[in-house]
């Protein structure tokens, strides 16, 4: 049984909206194990982003406990938290958030700067990560010369820079067209399958969420529903459509010919 990488107990978060307190999260419990690919869904204002911010150590819980890799981060000071973010977390943003004046490789190198001293090592590692997301040969391109999908892949490589315990993705497909959306979901699923990277993804998009292994529905600051996704079967090398045996390299089921990753066929729009 894989060990828990994230444990949240009785987490509450209260904002002050003027003089009125707003409960963004209420007594929330959640455990994510290592190697899981989880989607957090919910309508606007349900607390998705607040939850992601608290997990990502960029916001603090009002009450409750957040354990990351066994470390209690809920009461840590900022001068400790930045190290947790750097070493344990990888962020993927809806708007990619690449630095426009740095090329793809330099963007990927950024999080390593405080951690890996050797410049050549950083360079080598960044190139490897870019190759992993399918961007070898594009290392020296600036963000403006890359397509939206390519930019998001650079952002994924950047999130992997320091080998984080968890990748947090905030609407990673929100700014992408259908084709690129499928590409990114595929890259994330591959990362999860091939490297065992834990991914927590916040999304509005039920089709994207359907390709994770576990879907959580958040409503009024509570997890109200939990559901299995298509990804779970793939982890067991089974086709989620017909149940026949598949391998990691397959893009479609060898027997039923259904696509195994997000595609237009299974998500008719």
């Amino acid at each position: 049984m894989s060990k828990p990488v994230l444990q949240i107990q009785k987490l509450s978060k209260t904002y002050m909206l003027g003089k009125r307190p707003v409960n963004a999260l209420t007594d929330l419990n959640l455990q994510v194990n290592q190697g899981e690919f989880v989607a957090i869904m919910g309508p606007s204002g349900s607390g998705k982003t607040t939850l992601l911010n608290v997990i990502g150590c960029i916001d603090k819980a009002t009450t409750g406990q957040v354990l990351l890799d066994g470390i209690d981060v809920s009461q840590m000071a900022e001068n400790q938290l930045y190290k947790i973010r750097r070493d344990k977390m990888g962020f993927i943003f809806q708007t990619f958030n690449l630095l426009p004046y740095l090329n793809a490789r330099e963007n990927v190198e950024l999080p390593m700067e405080g951690k890996i001293k050797s410049k050549s090592e950083r360079k080598k590692r960044a190139s490897e990560l870019l190759a992993m997301v399918g961007l070898s040969g594009r290392e020296n391109h600036r963000p403006q010369r890359l397509s939206a999908g390519e930019q998001q892949r650079v952002a994924i490589a950047r999130a992997l820079a320091n080998d984080p315990a968890i990748i947090l993705a905030d609407e990673p497909t929100g700014n992408l067209d259908t084709k690129n959306k499928h590409e990114i979901i595929k890259v994330l699923a591959h990362l999860n399958l091939a490297r065992g990277t834990t991914i927590i993804m916040v999304t509005h998009d039920s089709q994207a969420a359907n390709h994770t292994e576990r879907m959580l529905l958040l409503k009024d600051g509570r997890i109200v529903k939990e559901k299995e996704g298509l990804h779970l079967a793939k982890k067991n090398h089974k086709c989620p459509h017909c149940g026949s045996s598949i391998t990691l390299k397959d893009d479609m089921c060898p027997s039923c010919k259904m696509p195994l990753y997000a595609s237009e066929e299974i998500f008719p729009s």
Binding site: D59, Y82, K83, D87, F91, N97
Partner: protein, 461 residues
């Protein structure tokens, strides 16, 4: 910002010029003070030169041009013979055609006087000595247009000063050039020798011991005088007899300097001279003293002004520096605040992916300092190129002092050309200032950047 850094260059030049001006004025005032003491027992008598005189018709003159007014052109050294018995005083002013007419406007060269007509002054009670003098300008005639009329004026190359070289006079009274800078002064009874001014020395291209030709006669240079006033700068001194011979003025002089027994009898003697020779313009030491005192008080006022100007320039300089420092810091501040605001999302991203507050702050400080250093370098380049123009724009008040006051030219005051030069020291100063101001100006924006919450990275455009 570049321009602002170049302003202190102009300010510094401004101060320097004002200081120089003040020093020059003090020198002039000291010299004026000396003249006042020497002048106490003097009475100067001459026939007034009257540029505005009309109706003067000189005998035997073929060169007179009617309708040219009083300022009749001089004819240089070869024209206008003066008949030996001609007494111009009977014509009541006016200007002789001939070389006497060609004085400079400011100089007020006197008309020739028949020396023999004034021997009676010697016998007036209280007169200790009488020094007859001859002053003749030599130079080129130049035609100038003025109000639709053409005038020929003499632009003097040099002024011959004939001094009576009797031992009685030169031992007791200061009639010789006082400021000998090379060689020696004239001796009693000496002929065929001259003392040149520095300007003369350059004009004749001659030094001590050299022979020069003045109006076809040869003289030996025995000394160089430094001059005590601007009119003196073109004067060469020689024996009165030599001067009269060489300028064809035997028996003629242009002024009489009367020395009295004491300063108490000066006004009485002046009255007596006036009664004896009503045609003479008589000015006593007392009158000259009053004049000089007026000039001195003018100088004092000017000096006071100059010092006030120095003080106010220093104040202005200080104010300017404060303004420049404040403005530069504020510009850096606002530029950096704007930058931080523009890049909130980028900063949020950096913090979300693991940059510490200190790193972010350092990054923005560095950026602010770099920005202002680049601007500083541009400013130094512009400042170096523009400083001369800029300083002349900043210094109109100082230039007002140039020129002459009452015939006395303030030496040095107007001659100081104000050119702000940009020194290495100033460049280093500007560079250091840019560094410091960049750091000060970006301190707060950098702090603001560090305080940006990483959650800002999540916000959409």
């Amino acid at each position: 910002m570049a321009i602002m850094i170049s302003i202190p260059a102009g300010v510094m030049a401004n101060q320097q010029t004002a200081n120089e001006l003040a020093n020059n004025l003090s020198d002039t005032i000291n010299q004026t003070g000396q003249s006042i003491n020497e002048t106490l027992i003097q009475i100067d008598c001459s026939l007034a030169s009257d540029f505005a005189g009309f109706g003067f018709r000189p005998p035997d003159s073929s060169s007179f041009t009617p309708g040219q007014g009083g300022f009749v052109p001089g004819q240089g050294s070869n024209g206008g013979e003066i008949p030996p018995n001609f007494d111009p005083s009977q014509f009541g002013g006016g200007v002789m055609p001939g070389r006497f007419g060609g004085g400079s406007f400011g100089g007020g060269e006197a008309n020739p006087m028949n020396e023999s007509l004034y021997t009676d002054i010697n016998s007036i009670d209280g007169v200790a000595a009488v020094a007859p003098m001859l002053q003749v300008s030599e130079g080129q005639n130049v035609t100038r247009e003025f109000m639709d009329r053409s005038f020929t004026i003499l632009v003097p190359d040099y002024v011959i000063q004939g001094i009576p070289l009797t031992s009685e006079l030169i031992d007791k009274y200061s009639i010789l050039p006082s400021n000998i800078t090379a060689g020696r002064n004239l001796n009693a009874g000496e002929t065929g020798v001259v003392v040149l001014s520095q300007n003369n020395s350059a004009f004749f291209d001659a030094g001590i011991g050299d022979s020069i030709t003045i109006l076809n006669q040869t003289f030996t240079v025995v000394g160089i005088h430094g001059g005590t006033g601007v009119s003196d700068q073109t004067s060469l001194y020689m024996n009165l007899n030599d001067a009269q011979t060489v300028t064809n003025n035997t028996g003629y002089i242009t002024s009489l300097r009367v020395f009295t027994d004491s300063s108490d009898v000066v006004s009485q003697v002046a009255n007596d001279i006036g009664e004896l020779h009503s045609e003479l313009t008589v000015s006593t030491g007392q009158e000259r003293l009053t004049q000089l005192q007026q000039i001195q008080s003018t100088y004092d006022a000017v000096l006071e002004n100059a010092q006030a100007s120095v003080n106010s320039t220093q104040m202005v300089a200080l104010e300017e520096i404060i303004v420049v420092v404040a403005a530069t810091s504020l510009i850096v501040l606002f530029v950096m605040l704007y930058t931080v605001r523009e890049r909130t999302k980028e900063i949020g991203t950096l913090k979300a992916i693991g940059f510490s507050n200190a790193t972010v702050m350092g990054q923005f400080m560095l950026e602010g300092v770099l920005l202002s250093v680049i601007a500083g370098v541009v400013g130094i380049v512009i400042g170096t190129v523009a400083a001369p123009t800029l300083s002349s724009l900043l210094l109109p008040s100082v230039n007002l002092f140039s020129g002459s006051t009452g015939g006395f030219v303030m030496r040095g005051a107007g001659a100081t050309t104000t050119v702000a030069s940009v020194s290495l020291e100033l460049i280093l100063l500007a560079f250091g200032a840019a560094l410091l101001l960049g750091a000060i100006g970006s301190l707060y924006p950098a702090w603001r950047a560090a305080k940006i919450r990483p959650a800002e990275a999540m916000k959409y455009e």
